[in-house]
């Protein structure tokens, strides 16, 4: 056995180091788990609308009983749209175009189950839809139309219909493969199209088709190009800008409340996770303190041995090394165990996530590893310097 280690391991207090070990393990696990949980939950929020940027607002006029009684239009007039465009917080404004023709859609799930419904289409300018241009577009003469459906439809099926009839839950991927049969009629013409679902949106409560299809179909089946839009899609430079709320209120407009709710939830979640990680950090700092106290005590108890080693020619670096390796070893062990515990807990909640969100894509764990490794490096470097300086104080003791 290494003789220096044989000397320096004297007076090592197992309970003290065990205390550090478990305290640090708890602290580290809380930090890593908090972080990974945050990343994982963020993925749920973010996965909701991959093809619609977060800083888009959907604006419509408030519909009240008065509007219904007086028959006042809920559509935006041209001056109103122009006024909106001129606001400082607005980047660009897109108009919703609704279908003037009749739409009937049906699809077959299996032998027994098929759905059929009257429906409508809407479209927004293509630059507001964040889907690969190959997927989003319509070629005249083609009988295939890409469609974006509201996620509510999927939820309605999964949590309502499928649940009550013991039918399998459908993911976005599976549903994306199913073709909708679409029947469009107007102006005496009737044609069948195939609808290809390219995505689901929880922001847009409408069935979206490409703008060029809408323009063409309105012209072809009804002969009208545009109806006044009832909804606007607005890109703003900062969704939290207070001027937006004021402007909307002053003009009697409404925006999608969901998005604000989601951001509230994210905000609260961030605070909660922040507090939890803070607690973990405090525990870790305290455990680091225990470790440093233990090492200082150990160095103090072994100071004569350390001094004699230094006097027979051992360098401070060589004498510090066993204690440095000991603390680094403990830190590495703590990190590995913390990661193992974190993964175990994560697997449990990921299972729940996947039950509720069939499309949940497990985010990478890399960020958490990096943070764990970063903490390991910081703590180890602090340990190395603290031990070294303690040994140097013995070297310099003199007099």
């Amino acid at each position: 056995m290494n003789l220096v280690w044989k000397l320096l391991r004297q007076h090592i207090s197992i309970p003290q180091f065990a205390g550090f070990f478990f305290a640090n393990l708890v602290g580290m696990t809380i930090i890593l788990l908090g972080m990974q949980f945050y990343i994982d939950t963020q993925a749920i929020y973010q996965s909701e609308d991959s093809f619609m940027k977060a800083d888009y607002l959907i604006v419509n006029k408030r519909i009240s009983s008065m509007t219904t009684i007086t028959g006042k239009s809920s559509a935006f007039t041209l001056p109103e749209v122009q006024d909106f465009c001129e606001q400082e917080f607005v980047e660009r404004v897109g108009l919703f175009t609704s279908s003037a023709y009749d739409v009937k859609a049906s699809f077959r799930l299996d032998e027994k189950t098929s759905f059929s419904t009257e429906m409508f289409f809407e479209s927004v300018p293509d630059e507001f839809v964040d889907v690969k241009s190959d997927d989003w577009g319509y070629e005249q003469g083609s009988y295939e139309v890409p469609i974006i459906l509201p996620r509510n439809y999927l939820d309605l099926y999964n949590f309502g219909y499928a649940q009550s009839r013991n039918m399998p839950k459908l993911s976005e991927g599976i549903l994306g493969a199913i073709r909708l049969k679409i029947e469009i009629s107007g102006g005496g013409a009737r044609d069948e199209y195939e609808g290809r679902i390219v995505g689901f949106s929880s922001r847009l409560n409408t069935i979206l088709v490409p703008q060029n299809f809408m323009d063409w179909a309105n012209e072809y089946y009804v002969g009208t190009k545009t109806k006044s839009p009832t909804r606007l899609i607005v890109e703003v430079n900062n969704p939290t800008d207070e001027r937006i709320t004021t402007y909307l209120q002053d003009n009697g407009y409404e925006t999608d409340q969901d998005k604000l709710d989601a951001s509230k939830q994210t905000f609260l979640l961030r605070i909660i996770v922040g507090i939890v990680m803070g607690v973990g950090l405090v525990i870790s700092i305290l455990s680091f303190y225990i470790l440093m106290l233990s090492v200082y005590l150990l160095v103090e108890k072994n100071s004569t041995k350390l001094e004699n080693l230094l006097l027979i020619g051992y360098s401070p670096a060589k004498v510090s090394k066993p204690y440095q390796l000991l603390t680094i070893g403990l830190n590495v062990l703590v990190l590995i165990l913390a990661i193992v515990v974190m993964m175990a807990v994560r697997n449990v909640y990921l299972e729940m996530f996947q039950t509720f969100f069939p499309d949940f894509e497990t985010p990478r764990i890399m960020h958490t590893y990096i943070v764990g490794a970063g903490l390991l490096v910081v703590v180890s470097v602090l340990n190395i310097f603290a031990i070294r300086s303690k040994v140097m104080s013995i070297w310099k003791r003199k007099d």
Binding site: L3, V4, K6, L7, Q10, K305, N308, L309, L311, I312, G313, Y314, S315, P316, M392, W395, K398, D399
Partner: protein, 214 residues
């Protein structure tokens, strides 16, 4: 290292003492290689302090101590580590052995650092000094006389230009004292090193080149 010079060196505690009679303190003394010195001292005259100063262990002195003309007060940690490993050996009066280790381990822990002596040589020395049977005994269970011999072997397990032995035979009988003297001078001669022996009474009988009264 070829010379050690004490340039008007004086322990700070002696600064106020009037009519200090010493041939070392407050003088210019030069220790050279291949010479044999005896520093005789009475109790409390700063014998161990002298060893501590030269070994860079204490700095509570006035004046200067120079190794080859360089002031040792300015040496870095790295320089001291090198000097203690390669140029200067010291047999402490209080020995500074590790009671948790065996006699042999106490020697090996030093020799591992310097790789200077063979295991065989070390065992031969244990044998010559009459403690071969105690080689694997814990230092804490050995008499002070036996420990002194272990400490001497350890002091020889490194290259050196000067070796200081602080009362090396205070607890040894005449036969063992003679053997210690022989081993010490033989190894010093082999390395061409200077030997400085301190004593407060009983000292090794050797042909000293210079005797100084501290």
């Amino acid at each position: 290292m070829n010379t050690i010079v004490l340039d008007n060196t004086l322990p700070k505690v002696f600064a106020q003492v009037k009519d200090l009679k010493s041939e070392v303190w407050n003088h210019e003394i030069t220790f050279e290689k291949e010479q044999l010195y005896l520093v005789e001292a009475n109790s409390g005259t700063g014998k161990s302090s002298l060893c501590s100063y030269i070994f860079g262990y204490r700095k509570d002195y006035e004046g200067q101590i120079l190794f080859d003309g360089a002031d040792i007060a300015k040496f870095s940690t790295r320089q001291w580590v090198n000097i203690r490993k390669k140029s200067l050996s010291l047999l402490w009066q209080e020995l500074r052995l590790f009671p948790e280790l065996t006699a042999l381990e106490n020697v090996i822990i030093k020799n591992k650092l310097t790789n200077h002596q063979s295991r065989q040589q070390i065992e031969t020395w244990f044998d010559q000094l009459g403690i071969a049977d105690r080689m694997h005994a814990k230092i804490g269970r050995m008499s002070f006389g036996q420990q002194q011999r272990v400490a001497l072997i350890r002091a020889l397990c490194q290259p050196f230009d000067f070796i200081f032995v602080d009362e090396p035979i205070s607890h040894l009988d005449d036969t063992n004292s003679r053997i210690v003297g022989e081993l010490l001078t033989a190894e010093a001669k082999r390395q061409g090193a200077g030997v400085i022996v301190t004593s407060i009474g009983k000292h090794i009988e050797l042909n000293y080149d210079k005797v100084l009264k501290l």
